[in-house]
Amino acid sequence: MVTFLDIIISGLLLGGIYAVTAVGLSLQYGVARVLNIAHGEFIMLGAFLTWFLFTTFGINPLVALFISGLILFGVGFLLYRTLFTRLRISAETPGAFEGNSMLACFGLLFIIQNVAILCWGADIKGYSFLAFPVSFWGAKFSANRLVTLLFALVICLVFYLFLSKTRLGKAIRAAAQDPETAGLMGVRINRVLALCYGLGALMAGFGGALISMSYNIHPTMGLEYTMIALIVIVLGGLGSIPGSLIGGLVLGLVGSIVTHVEPGLALVAYYVIFMVLLLVKPSGILGK
């Protein structure tokens, strides 16, 4: 029998994953000004890389998580330095850049999905890792879920500290608020933007790895995660990184509750929240 605690833990687990991925998207849109609708495909790549490293080389998924993340960081960083920088230079207005970069991501979406299917086939994959039950507070949980939850929360915490305490983090926040002034004050704007895009991909990689530890994966899984990340960043407030964290957790809890009541309606519930949000307070929970 599913208890209240089960639902809460599932919700936090889901929320942790949502938060990690949403923070990545928030960095990419909020700072680098790229609405990366291929974000879910990066998540999918993170998941598949982890699966691949575990099933082929036996690398512990918790270690593979970092490897996947780094690889995806590299991919994201390079992509920005080549494709998006080129678009940024040639765009007539900032609005044109946002539109063009979004469309370029649309193209990337299909490219990445196709590449994944070519590499690993279109079937559902999965692996078993720490799949033994653990009990505390009178309830049973799968160990991998608890570890995933723990890692998700740690990643979010570390990232939050990075943004608020380190010099680079402050540079990023400055660039998010006002790129021009930040540039004038010595922030190497081009590098920071590429870095942010890369960090966003890094978070996607982490998110994908975490997902692969608890759920099955398949090459078309990305779309849904992109949708959810979009809803979360609007819910938290566009441009607010703490907002994405909170929004992710909220949505995860909602998802868990709805799935318990009526499985299959979680996405619909998220969209209802999205609609209400847009009607009542589009600036989100922590938005300006």
Binding site: L35, I37, L83, R86, L87, S90, G95, E98, G99, N100, M102, L103, A104, F106, G107, L108, L109, F110, I111, Q113, N114, V115, I117, L118, L223, E224, T226, M227, L230, I231, V234, L238, E262, G264, L265, L267, V268, Y271, F274, M275, L278, L279, P282
Partner: protein
Amino acid sequence: MGIGNRTFGNTPAWIAALLLLALVAAAPLYAGVYTVILMISVLMYMVIAVSWAFFSGPTGYISLASAAFFGTGIYTSAIFGMVLPMPLVILLGALASSGLALLVGAITLRLKGIYFVMFTFGLVELMLNFILWWEVTISGTTGRVVPPMSNQTVFYSMLGILVVLVLVVFFVRRSTYGLALQSIGENEEAAAHSGVHVTAIKITTYAVSAFFMGAAGAVMATRWTYIDPKIAFNPLICFMPVLMAIFGGMRPLFGPIIGAAIFTYLEQYLITRFPYYYMLIFGAIMVVSILYMPEGLLGLVQKIRIRIREKQHANS
């Protein structure tokens, strides 16, 4: 641009267009079955691409929800195809899609364009999810059957929809309404301050574009005959019209038409020759188009024509 408003005031172009139309309309009489079927696909893609560009071109609000409207049309056929006459079903499909567009527009078009993009991006998956859940949980069916129509009927229905659409787009672009649409894309705030009811015009235009996509969907359902939510709501249909319009060029009327023609043939070719790579190729074309052909194929052709004219002037 001057192009949209002043082109085709010349008679030779009109005559050429009518001749082409007559040629196309007579196709089922002289062309083989396979060609007619291919042309149905071309016409369908043209309807979707032109409808998409009708709204997203001038206003600059990029809709990623085409498949949701097309799919609504398909599903309307699936639900009512057995019990109502086809012309009525097509109309219902068109109206249902318009209704969905009105809802989406009312929620998102009052806000900045980015919210519109984000909302429409997920709409297809949402519709898929919702209708799948409904069919499984409430109506208990897993697939529906649509009574088939002959290839000829489907062909002429689609052609008819395209012709009406082209006429609508043509006359709107030359009217003050079309000017208002363009002004919204140029500078929305200035348009509002010049007396244009910006939100109403955006929502109405979006609903009109969805109308034609829904009609096309309702017609196509009769070709596929077996419909389930996954077949009806296919994310690829979100991507293709955008690709066609970007590649062909968004502003002139015929940009999306040419883009659609090229792509349908390309798709047929690629699906048979490279079934595992074709999405990758299309994605790459999209990225390349955005990087190197900002005005689309038509824009590129124009640039070349201007260059040639410049050279001629320099030589004379």
